[in-house]
Amino acid sequence: MLPNESLVNFIFPNNAHIDWSLMIVIYPYITGLVAGAFVVSSLYHVFRIREFEGIARFALVAAFCFGLFAAVPLLVHLAQPQRAFNIFFTTHLTSAMSVFGYVYSSYMVLLMVELWLTYRDYFIERAKETSGLQRVVWTALTLGVTEYTPESARIDYRLTTFLAAIGIPWACVLHGYVGFIFGSVKANAWWATPLQPIIFLMSAIVSGMAMLCLMYSFVRWRTGRPYDYAMIRKLMTFLWGFVIIDFTIEVLEVFYVYYEHGHHWSLIGPLLSGPLYNSFVITQMLILSAIPFLVLAVVVIRAIDRKPLLYLANFASLLLVLQVLVMRFNVVIGGQNISKSDRGFATFHFEILAKEGVLPALIILAAPFVVYYILSRFIPIFDDDERLTAR
């Protein structure tokens, strides 16, 4: 089915190539993981959800690891990466994209300060215990203040809470803004909707929470330590709530366009029954949204606990992590499938080794986990970490 009474698949000559490729798919994905993981840590620090106390620090470290790589896909995508800093130097404020550099870097500074406050006592301890080069590094991390008084601890606690509180709107800005970059492009019928920032934000929180569940379970399993089932239950309850909001808005957006039956539907109807049928309708909606939604409903409503809870939670989380990745793909690539000719669809081809191919994308997606592993060698992330229990 082709749009606007087209007899042949006519695409504008310059639309044959899809410019925004896998790098732009994983960029909002990683940014979303940052925002989602941060929200979990803030749920403890600000909203005092007691169950998340044990993972608040873990969530913060995870958010930091993802944050380190949020801008990498963009950099790889740029045709002139050596000029990337122009976005800081000649920031064109009419552009939705222009303040990304500032929003992102200020968010990273906030994240780092909060991490620093959280780990300051540990840095001080290490600086006192170690000697030689190690001592220099640990002391540098303390900024030379090697006294940890109860009074300064109180001040740090208040500051941490404050940072977590402004971190929530800031995480929302960071990710809602990524949605705005797409939602404000009036030339693209599949992107242009004011709901886009909310869709991006909700799916970000879903992916971040689900990813935390997977990482938590994996780390606990590998290190042979007990699972906090009450925490997992709570996390799944929140996750279910965000999945409901996310799924509803995504469906609502498409349904509105369908019901209005306007210009947008003339393009989106054929898009969804054509190039996006498998990846949107079948994969994203029917498999990766509906199944975890039902599984989480069972987990939350039925009093499932212990091992069954662990398995179901991880099953749902895995599907949701994939759902959001596929959703990013469907938005970014789907929008570009529609040629500006309004009379045809461009085809996307997966590349493997190219600059924006599957392999570089997988490497960038894997990098945060590697950094997490390295960090976990040096700093205690869970309360029952051996470095802490040994003391």
Binding site: F85, N86, F88, F89, T90, H92, V109, V113, W116, R120, T142, L143, G144, V145, E147, T149, E151, S152, R154, I155, L159
Partner: protein, 165 residues
Amino acid sequence: MKPSPRSHLYRLLLVLAVAGAGFVGLRQLAIPDSWDEEHWYRGDALDELAAQPSRFGGNASCEGSSCHEPPANHKANYDALSQGLHAGVACESCHGPLARHAADGEKLDHARLNVANELCLGCHQELIARPQNFPQFSETLLYHELLNVRETSPCRACHNPHEPA
């Protein structure tokens, strides 16, 4: 004297301030000198773009030029062209880009022209999307039929592109 419980925060602020100041300084250095703050672009870009050489010289450089002997004389062909049915067709429409054809009375670049039927048919092949009143080649045109003219027959045997009829 005991150190202030906030001393680590003061040091953090100092680190952030130094980083911030360094960034602001770097930014000042990195903004191009000719940057137009009002319309937000690099002013020098205009003249750099304008410096791109022209490949098509336009009729101005052929008009009145008496180069070459007849019948290839520029002036004669130009005058004939401007009075005939091809008036309005620029020299370079058929001859290609000629901005570097000649300078200072010296020939720099050839005006290559393949006078095959394709050149004529590029415009005059019969196509449904062409305007109805535009002359399009037809083998069934009475004159062509009488003379047994096919699409492959040399157009130039009868038609002079500079004075077509």
